[in-house]
Symmetry: C2
Subunit: 369 residues, 2 copies
């Protein structure tokens, strides 16, 4: 960790976020706790881009009145195993926790729960919700559309988001399998880092504003588009990443009615959030393992598969083969013990909010020197 | 179409496959019809590698007694919305048609059906089963593990198959969205074509037997491994393709008990099919659109999304943006009208079978000249 970071205890940081949302913004206490839990999960798992760094972005929305801070979340359709939820423009974390709880409840009742959600907002890390199912020894699914920033294969316009999807599957003695992936080759944050470090990016990551393959990390900012997982052509399978991004938009958006990409002006929402609420859609799933085979046998099979992958021979130049989620569990253990490294610029923003809303921030004291 | 191909009427070809399986191999009539329907769907959709070309491969298995030609397919576990099926080592298409019908039945009853299948075999194109749901205006899911041939990210051993997944979602006036993708960058067939044409393959497709990045199309044959969608490193997202392949193996294999990758000798099954039956696993899903929002509204949203993607501006050098499944629907229309082009080597094999099993093959007459 460089000297540009402050190590912060995760429980202090959790309390801070709860205070900011409960005392500062006036959310219900239980909603503030959800926001803190989702953001802390990201920071603990090493997904810093989706942790407390985001507070500034959310603050902007709340200040402008674009989020409903006390949403009336409603179930609009329901069958034994499925439902659709209207998030009433609430904060994505609050709406999504409610939705995933309903999903799990349905899975308990009939084996499977599938719930689409509309009229919501950015929900943080996808894996938070899929992993909720793990506590019940269920398989969990979570996905969301986000503002269009990526071009379809052979296209040049921003038509789809990074549209992440997550699957979480329990194991017995191994850590669970937790896949949480954007359907673009990389997320926008990688380009920002490269731009700051004045590095080129590899081909297959971004197009310039005219739709040409680019290695300039500023191309996205200058009106370009992200490239789908698999690259900008069919040759290495770019149409597969594009297909997955479309799938996520269909399940999160078409089912719930919160779809991006129909209207070109959707893209303007992100560029100018003051235009209107984001109207993001999500899709959640949960299913009981016992609905297929004895739980013990399935978990043994998961252990065997994960172990054989981790024990397989690495390619030249690499020390080991990882499975999805493994690195994040390692980071979580380390950060729970040693603290979460916050960039000084983030620390300063947190202090600003604390002073503005008169909440305790003693644990950030060192950085004020 | 080159002169090395014969154009064959699809109904003639269907009758031929039915006769081969019913008269030739002694399958039940309805099972022979299923095999013909799945293979013809592949040939009509332009997925030639999974069409009647495969008859030779299947024949080898049937001759060696490795498939059960009259399987007793059993439901071993069942809840309102889920089930597991033991395929009794039947042909993958026969087992899978049964499984997807059960999946759809469950979705009709409670909104969702999810069915895992073990003790099965190669099932043809994944999209055949997901598309069965379209006829009911449902969303369909299909995936399968296959013999290990691809290395995990930063790995060098063959640990996972090309593990395809398919999602089919209906639209109103547009053709349905049909995603059907291997989770490796390319399928093995692409390397065979490049080897025949003495072309190098791009980086990001195959590793040599020592785990090094290779551009030699023969590397796979020489003991190498396919690369996951996104490439051999984390840089362009190879861990995402790897994560998806693992997911498919978990849902198809760990749930059903037919998992590849636990035991290194699993890999030998493909190299030496005489060792034992393949014990492949599948996973199927179906869900009612009405379980989320009014069908009409969802289909309108799908139309809007698909149309906006197809109408979006192409990148320089390209004429149009396609959506998943669109090209296959175009090929199908064309081939239903003009016939299916069969390579002369395939035609000769079909004639051999016909003579051996004394079935009608007049429609292949031209090629005998």
């Amino acid at each position: 960790m460089s000297s540009s970071h402050l190590l912060v205890n995760s429980e202090d940081l959790r309390r801070y976020v709860e205070d900011l949302y409960y005392i500062g913004y006036g959310f219900k206490k239980e909603h503030a706790e959800i926001v803190a839990d989702v953001l802390l999960a990201a920071d603990l798992r090493g997904v810093d881009s989706h942790g407390v760094q985001r507070l500034v972005w959310y603050d902007d929305y709340i200040e402008k009145g674009l989020f409903n801070t006390n949403p009336n979340i409603k179930i609009t359709t329901e069958t034994l195993s499925t439902a659709n939820i209207d998030g009433d423009n609430g904060l994505g974390m609050v709406v999504s926790k409610f939705a995933m709880e309903l999903t799990i409840k349905k899975a308990k009742e009939c084996g499977t729960g599938l719930v689409s959600v509309g009229n919501s907002n950015h929900y943080g890390i996808a894996a938070y919700y899929s992993m909720m199912a793990l506590k019940e020894d269920m398989i969990g699914i979570s996905m969301t559309n986000v503002m269009p920033i990526a071009a379809p294969t052979h296209g040049r316009e921003r038509m789809l988001g990074t549209n992440p999807l997550s699957f979480a599957i329990p194991a017995k003695t191994e850590e669970p399998f937790v896949l949480d992936m954007a359907t673009t080759a990389v997320a926008a944050g990688k380009l920002e880092v490269a731009a700051r470090e004045e590095r080129e990016v590899p081909k297959g990551v971004v197009l310039d504003k005219d739709g040409n393959v680019s290695t300039n990390p500023n191309s996205l900012k200058e009106g370009g588009a992200l490239v789908m997982l698999g690259g900008e052509s069919y040759e290495l399978g770019g149409h597969k990443g594009y297909g997955l991004a479309t799938l996520v938009n269909a399940l999160s958006g078409a089912l719930s009615g919160s779809i991006f990409g129909i209207n070109p002006s959707d893209a303007q929402i992100f560029e100018n959030p003051a235009v209107k609420p984001m109207n993001i859609g999500h899709f959640f799933g949960a299913f009981q393992i016992e609905g297929f085979r004895k739980k013990d046998e399935v978990l043994d099979s998961m252990d065997g598969m994960l172990r054989s992958l981790k024990d397989s021979k690495p390619a030249p130049g690499y020390e080991k083969v990882y499975v999805a989620g493994e690195k994040e569990f390692e980071v979580e253990k380390e950060r729970l013990k040693n603290g979460i490294p916050l960039h000084i610029s983030t620390v300063k923003e947190l202090i600003n909010f604390a002073q503005k809303y008169k909440i305790n921030h003693d644990f950030l004291a060192l950085a004020e020197d």
